[in-house]
């Protein structure tokens, strides 16, 4: 992957009802970003992972300045084992003035390692001096001694330890498509994801790393944290433990595209919770699903099938798409060839335990 092939997406965000003049104004802004990106000021990504600063020089040991973290609602990636690290330049801190869109300092770097039997790839994002982000993926050799930069258009690897013997390294455009849809391009590193109040029912939950929200605050690695978040660990407000885990899973796996505070796909579905994840946040998410109808009909449930049919998992479009790996139907559409059976079971349970009345009642009572 190469750096800065396009800065257009983030600069062109306008509200759906924008006037023609607004669209043109946004276009002008985008062209400015495009011109900067095309100017060649930014150095290309290193050819080798070892040159990104992940390791202690001369080794494949993680540099202790890079801090390990683990989101409580991890993204499903066909069962790959993951490890993640963040590097913040000395003396800098994340700005939480906008608690749902943390602002990371220039020089921030994050890595995510994917492994099956052995390490397959390590993805890398970095915040540049012009406030843009660059994205890359590094493919490990068979011996596990070195990882080199993947092509910008992505590549498919033959891996016996990967599902169906195939492993897809994403194209840079696919990286940006997901990361640039959320309020912050850093996914999985937020107040809710790093809360010390971990969800015991979260699918594929990983052991909590030492770097949680509390640690960030205490180590002065984050500033301007709202008092409510500093005093109480965020936790999704839900009527049952199953609902908490279900909403958390949808937040972590779907919220970067389906949200109302970033650059979402235009389908009127908000699955991302706010930082505080209070009752209003849960109701906003539930409301976007209640009575929702998808324009997509290819799921085979008929044109009247709702996204969520309370008490009827088999009539719920959301579940039908989670259960499919037909590329035209499946959700999520990227990064997975295998159905997440643990998550499907959780969502089935959640839909099964609902009744139409209780969902509507919950929403109405909190308006």
């Amino acid at each position: 992957m190469r750096a800065h092939r396009s800065c257009l997406p983030r600069m062109l965000t306008v509200i759906p009802s924008a006037s023609h003049a607004t669209v043109i104004a946004a276009t002008a802004l985008a062209l400015g970003a495009w011109a900067r990106a095309a100017s060649g000021d930014v150095a290309p990504l290193p050819e080798h992972l070892r040159d990104t600063g992940l390791f202690t020089p001369g080794t494949t040991e993680i540099d202790p300045r890079n801090l390990a973290f683990a989101p409580q609602y991890p993204l499903w990636s066909d069962g790959a084992h993951k490890r993640r690290w963040i590097y913040l330049p000395p003396g800098t801190a994340i700005d939480s003035t906008r608690p749902d869109a943390w602002d990371f300092p220039v020089g921030t770097r994050l890595w995510k390692e994917f492994a099956h039997t052995g390490r397959v790839e390590t993805r890398y994002i970095e915040r540049m001096s012009d406030d843009s982000w660059r994205f890359g993926a590094y493919v490990w050799n068979d011996a596990g001694t070195d990882a080199t930069l993947a092509p910008a258009d992505g590549v498919t690897l033959e891996r016996n330890d990967a599902p169906r013997g195939r492993y897809d390294i994403p194209a840079e455009t696919d990286c940006r498509a997901c990361h640039e849809g959320a309020a912050s391009p850093v996914l999985g590193f937020s107040a809710l994801q790093l809360s010390s109040d971990r969800d015991p029912l979260a699918p594929h939950a990983e052991a909590q790393a030492t770097l949680d929200l509390r640690a960030l605050i205490e180590r002065h690695l984050i500033k301007n944290v709202p008092a409510s978040l500093a005093s109480s660990a965020p936790r999704i407000t839900a009527r049952t433990p199953v609902e908490r885990a279900a909403l958390g899973y949808l937040h972590g796996n779907c919220g970067h595209c389906h949200n109302d505070n970033g650059a979402p796909v235009p389908v009127d579905l908000a699955l991302a919770h706010t930082a505080g994840s209070d009752a209003a946040s849960a109701d906003r998410v539930l409301h976007s699903m209640i009575d929702a109808r998808s324009r997509f009909r290819g799921h085979g449930l008929g044109s009247d099938a709702p996204l969520i049919a309370p008490g009827e998992p088999n009539r719920s479009v959301l579940l039908a798409r989670m259960r499919s790996r037909n590329p035209q139907i499946q959700m999520p559409p990227l990064g997975t060839q295998l159905i997440d059976t643990e998550a499907v079971a959780l969502i089935e349970r959640w839909i099964d335990e609902q009744s139409t009345t209780s969902l509507h009642t919950s929403w109405e009572s909190n308006r």
């Binding site: 983030r10 062109l12 940006r176 595209c257 009909r297 290819g298």
Partner: protein, 189 residues
Amino acid sequence: MNTVTKTYWPALALLSCFALPASPALAGDDAAAKTVARGKYLVTIAACNDCHTPWKEGPKGPEPDMSRMLSGHPESMKVSAPATLTGAWIAASSPTNTAWSGPWGVSFTANLTPDAETGLGKWTPQTFAQTIRTGRHLGRGRPLLPPMPIPMYKNFTDEDLAAIFAYLQSIPAVKNQVPDPLPPVANGG
């Protein structure tokens, strides 16, 4: 006002249009118009109408029905199964040139008009640019299908894509719910 002034007033007014700097608002309008014109040009030469505007029978043979310009496969034209092809044939299209059958199943061309519910009315320039760049529905969903020439179109510059989107947002909205793709016969998914 004397005769001379009255006679030359229109000419002076016209001259002032050239002599005085344009107001920011007028300059913006002009830039917007140029962008839309550029987008129209690109849509025309990139043959978008060939597939996204339904064809009808005209006096000289099939021609795009511009009353339904860029509104995609007509929802009234039902297609329930892929074409049955024999011999050397691998693909077929509908008489409207908006439904295509091949090894991928059946694809239907999208409604590119700014209708909010069935077209691109809720799209942002970002959605459009990502769709062309990634070859994915809504920029990050299912893969787009043939014959959409993504391998060629993804090479449009950012400036071109912004102009095309600006033009598409300026054309008449047509309410037309295009059906979802049909799977190949052997892959019901």
